[in-house]
C-alpha cells in the first residue's frame, strides 16, 4: 500500500510538472477539438494527431497522447448528444438518451453528467491501474514466448468477436494485417521481405501511414459520397449547464455501476470500451424500475455508458503497460508512438522507466480533471465547431493529415503510401471488411512473429507447445471457445437462410 502511494507520488510529481500539465491540457483540448467533428472517431483522432507529439520528449508525448485519447472520447460524446452522429461505436449508446435529453432542452445536463460520470470513473480506474500495475508486471515475468504468442492470439480473437459483421471477414482482416506487417527487413536475418525492390519499403510500411490511410482518408472519402448535411444540430441555446440535485442523485448509482463494469471489461483484450458502454446501458435498463424511460431522455442512460466507457478506456492501458500488448486499436496507436520514441512497451517499462510509467498513470487522472474543467465551459465553442460545413472541414483534415504524415520521416513516399491505404480502406468498407482488426494485427504482427519463432525454436519445432504449456494452453482454449461462440449463431443463421428458400 505504501509502495503504491509512493509510486503514485512519483507519478504526480512527474505529471504535475508545468510542461507535462501543459501537454496534458493541450492534448485534451486538441483531442476534443478533433473528436467533436462528426464522423471522426477516437481512433481516427488519435491517428491524426499522432505526428504532433513526435517532437516532444517521450514522457510529454505519451501524456499528451493520453490526453488526446480522453479528449477525443469526450468530444465524441458531445457530438452524440448534440448532433446525434456517433463518431464511433462507443458513442452509439450515448446517442440514444443523450440526444433525446438535448431535444428536451437538457443538453447541458446531459453533457455535464457525462463529464462528471467520466471523471468519477477516471478517478477509480486510475487507482485500479496503479494497483494492478505491479502484480500484473510480475505475472508478465512468468510469460515465455509461447504464452506471449497465445495471449496475442487471444487479443486478436477478441477483436474478431467484437468486430461487427462476419467473423470470417474479421479473420481475413487479421491475416491481412499480419501479412502487411511483414513487409520490410526480416528482424533476424535482415533479408528484405516482399519489398518488390522498392527502397522505401525496406524499413517496412509505417504504422502511422496505414492508420491514417484506413481511418482518416478512407473515412473522408466515404463521408463525401453520403448525402451532405443530414445533420440535426440542436439549435436551441444550451442553458443550465449544471445538473440539478435530482439529476445527480438519479445518476450516482448508474455512474458507480458503470465504472465497475467498465473497469473489468476494459482489461480484457480486444476493444473493451465498446462492450463496456453497451453492457452498462443494457444492465442499467434491466435493473431500472422504469425501463420504458430509456431511449426517451433518461439521465441514467447517459451516465452509465459514459462512466463505463471512460473506465474501460483507462483500464485498457493495463495490458499495454504491463504486458506490452495493445488490447485495441487506440492502444495499438500508443504502441506505435512509444516505438517511435524508442520505448518498447512491456513489463520492463515499469522497472526501467518508472517516471514514465507512473507519470502516465497520474496524468490519466489529471487528463480527466482537465476534461471536466475545459469541456463544460467550452461547450459553446464545440457547438460552433459543429456548424462548420463539411465541405470546408474535410479539405482541412486532409491537409492536416498530409503534413502530419510527411513530418514523421520527412518522406513524401509515406504520404503516397497513406493515400494508397486510403483507397484500400474505401474498398474494404465497400466489401464489409472492418479496418480495426487489420490495424491491431498490423501492430501485433512483428511481436507475434518474433514470439512464434522463438517459441518454436525453444520447443525444437514442436507446435504443440502452445497447447501443452499450461498458461498458453488456457489462453488458446479461451480463444478457441470465443471463436466458436461467435461463429455459431452466424452458422446457424446461414443454415436457416439456406433451408428457408
Amino acid at each position: 500500500m505504501s509502495e503504491l502511494l509512493a509510486n503514485l507520488a512519483l507519478g504526480f510529481s512527474v505529471a504535475a510538472h508545468p510542461y507535462n500539465i501543459g501537454f496534458c491540457l493541450l492534448g485534451a483540448l486538441v483531442g476534443t477539438l478533433v473528436g467533436v467533428l462528426p464522423g471522426i472517431g477516437t481512433v481516427a483522432t488519435v491517428a491524426m494527431l499522432l505526428p504532433i507529439t513526435f517532437g516532444l520528449p517521450p514522457v510529454g508525448a505519451l501524456i499528451m497522447l493520453a490526453g488526446i485519447y480522453y479528449g477525443a472520447q469526450y468530444g465524441g460524446s458531445t457530438t452524440s448528444v448534440l448532433v446525434n452522429i456517433p463518431g464511433e461505436a462507443t458513442s452509439v449508446v450515448t446517442c440514444l438518451d443523450g440526444h433525446q435529453m438535448a431535444r428536451q432542452g437538457r443538453a447541458g445536463a446531459a453533457l455535464s453528467i457525462a463529464a462528471i460520470g467520466s471523471f468519477f470513473a477516471g478517478c477509480v480506474s486510475t487507482v485500479l491501474v496503479a494497483a494492478l500495475g505491479t502484480p500484473l508486471t510480475s505475472l508478465a515475468l512468468l510469460f515465455g514466448p509461447a504464452e506471449y504468442f497465445s495471449l496475442m492470439v487471444l487479443g486478436l480473437i477478441f477483436a474478431v468477436v467484437l468486430a461487427k459483421g462476419s467473423v470470417l471477414n474479421a479473420i481475413a482482416m487479421i491475416l491481412t494485417g499480419l501479412l502487411l506487417s511483414m513487409v520490410g527487413s526480416d528482424l533476424e536475418t535482415g533479408a528484405g521481405r516482399m519489398t518488390f525492390d522498392i527502397a522505401e519499403l525496406s524499413d517496412g510500411i509505417g504504422f502511422a501511414n496505414v492508420a491514417m490511410g484506413v481511418f482518416g482518408f478512407a473515412e473522408i472519402i466515404r463521408n463525401l459520397e453520403m448525402s451532405q448535411e443530414s445533420r440535426d444540430i440542436v439549435q436551441s441555446k444550451i442553458k443550465g449547464l449544471m445538473p440539478t440535485r435530482q439529476d445527480l442523485i438519479d445518476s450516482s448509482g448508474a455512474i458507480a455501476r458503470g465504472t465497475i463494469l467498465g473497469s473489468i471489461l476494459g482489461i480484457l483484450p480486444g476493444g473493451g470500451a465498446v462492450v463496456a458502454s453497451f453492457a452498462a446501458y443494457t444492465f442499467e435498463k434491466r435493473i431500472s424500475k422504469t425501463p420504458e424511460r430509456f431511449g426517451r431522455g433518461e439521465i441514467r442512460g447517459v451516465a452509465a455508458p459514459e462512466a463505463a466507457n471512460n473506465a474501460a478506456a483507462q483500464t485498457s492501458f493495463i495490458p499495454l503497460l504491463t504486458l506490452g500488448i495493445p488490447p485495441n486499436a487506440v492502444m495499438a496507436l500508443m504502441v506505435g508512438a512509444m516505438t517511435i520514441h524508442g520505448i518498447v512497451p512491456g513489463p520492463q517499462v515499469m522497472t526501467k522507466q518508472p517516471e514514465l510509467f507512473w507519470g502516465m498513470i497520474a496524468s490519466m487522472w489529471l487528463g480527466n480533471l482537465m476534461l471536466v474543467i475545459i469541456n463544460l465551459p467550452l461547450v459553446g465553442v464545440w457547438v460552433t465547431l459543429l456548424r462548420v460545413p463539411y465541405r470546408l472541414l474535410y479539405p482541412s483534415i486532409i491537409v492536416f493529415c498530409c503534413i502530419g504524415i510527411y513530418s514523421i520521416n520527412n518522406s513524401p513516399t509515406d504520404v503516397v503510401i497513406a493515400a494508397i491505404f486510403g483507397l484500400v480502406g474505401y474498398w474494404l468498407a465497400k466489401h464489409d471488411f472492418e479496418p480495426a482488426p487489420l490495424v491491431l494485427a498490423f501492430v501485433l504482427g512483428p511481436l507475434m512473429e518474433e514470439n512464434l519463432r522463438r517459441a518454436m525454436l525453444i520447443a525444437r519445432g514442436d507446435a504443440t507447445v502452445f497447447i501443452t504449456r499450461p498458461i498458453s494452453g488456457v489462453l488458446i482454449a479461451i480463444a478457441a471457445s470465443l471463436l466458436v461462440l461467435a461463429a455459431l449463431p452466424m452458422i446457424r443463421k446461414r443454415r436457416e437462410e439456406v433451408f428457408v428458400e
Binding site: 504532433i52 517532437g55 470470417l168 471477414n169 479473420i171 481475413a172 491475416l175 491481412t176 501479412l179 511483414m182 526480416d186 533476424e188 536475418t189 533479408a191 521481405r193 516482399m194 482518408f217 473522408i220 472519402i221 463525401l224 459520397e225 451532405q228 465541405r391 470546408l392 474535410y394 479539405p395 482541412s396 486532409i398 491537409v399 492536416f400 498530409c402 503534413i403 510527411y406 513530418s407 520527412n410 513524401p412 504520404v415 503516397v416 497513406a418 493515400a419 486510403g422 483507397l423 474505401y426 474498398w427 465497400k430 466489401h431 464489409d432 471488411f433 512473429e449 512464434l452 519463432r453 518454436m456 525454436l457 520447443a459 446461414r494 437462410e497 439456406v498 433451408f499 428457408v500 428458400e501
Partner: protein, 173 residues
C-alpha cells in the same frame, strides 16, 4: 428451418450464381493478395532445422489468408448478401489527387520527363486544400480561397512555429 417441406438443394449443382457479391469479390481479392504475397516471398529461405527462415512466416500467413479468402468467396457464392455498392469517382479522385499533389510538391519529384522543383510547405498546403475541396459538389470559390489561406496559416503556425518542425516554407528558401 421451415418445417415440413424440405426445399430441394439449390437447383442443379453447377449453377454459378453469385448470391453475395460483396463477399464473393472481397474473397477473390484476398486470394489474389495472398498469391502476390506468396510469390513475393518465394525467393526467401524457409525453415532450416527448427528455426524459421525469413520466408516461413509470410508464406504461412499468406496461405492462411488464401484459405480464409476462399471461404469468404465461397460463402458469397452460397449465401445471399447485399449487392455491390457503387463506387463514387469524383470525391475519391480529387482527394487522392490532392494528397499526391502534396507529396509531389513538398520536396519536388521527378516523373519521367516532368520535374517538379521542391515548392515548400505553404504552396503545397494551399494547393492540396484547393484540389481536395473540388471533390465536394458544393464548392464555392471565394469561401474556399479564404478557408485555404486560413488553414495554411494555421498549419504553418502549428507545425513550424509551435512544434518547431523543420519545414521549407517557400520555393526559394
Amino acid at each position: 428451418m421451415a418445417e415440413g417441406v424440405r426445399s430441394p438443394p439449390n437447383g442443379g449443382g453447377l449453377r454459378f450464381k453469385v448470391r453475395g457479391p460483396r463477399e464473393f469479390y472481397g474473397g477473390l481479392a484476398l486470394i489474389a493478395l495472398a498469391i502476390v504475397a506468396i510469390w513475393a516471398s518465394g525467393d526467401l529461405p524457409g525453415m532450416h532445422g527448427f528455426a524459421f527462415g525469413p520466408g516461413t512466416a509470410p508464406r504461412l500467413f499468406a496461405t492462411l489468408l488464401a484459405i480464409v479468402g476462399a471461404l469468404v468467396a465461397l460463402s458469397g457464392m452460397l449465401f445471399d448478401g447485399p449487392p455491390l455498392d457503387s463506387y463514387a469517382i469524383r470525391g475519391p479522385a480529387w482527394v487522392i489527387l490532392a494528397i499526391l499533389a502534396f507529396a509531389g510538391m513538398i520536396r519536388g519529384v521527378h516523373l519521367g520527363f516532368v520535374t517538379v522543383p521542391p515548392l515548400g510547405l505553404i504552396p503545397s498546403t494551399f494547393a492540396a486544400f484547393m484540389i481536395s475541396i473540388c471533390g465536394s459538389s458544393e464548392m464555392r470559390w471565394v469561401e474556399s480561397l479564404i478557408a485555404a489561406v486560413a488553414m495554411t496559416a494555421f498549419c504553418v503556425g502549428l507545425f513550424v512555429y509551435l512544434l518547431q518542425l523543420p519545414f521549407q516554407l517557400w520555393p526559394w528558401y
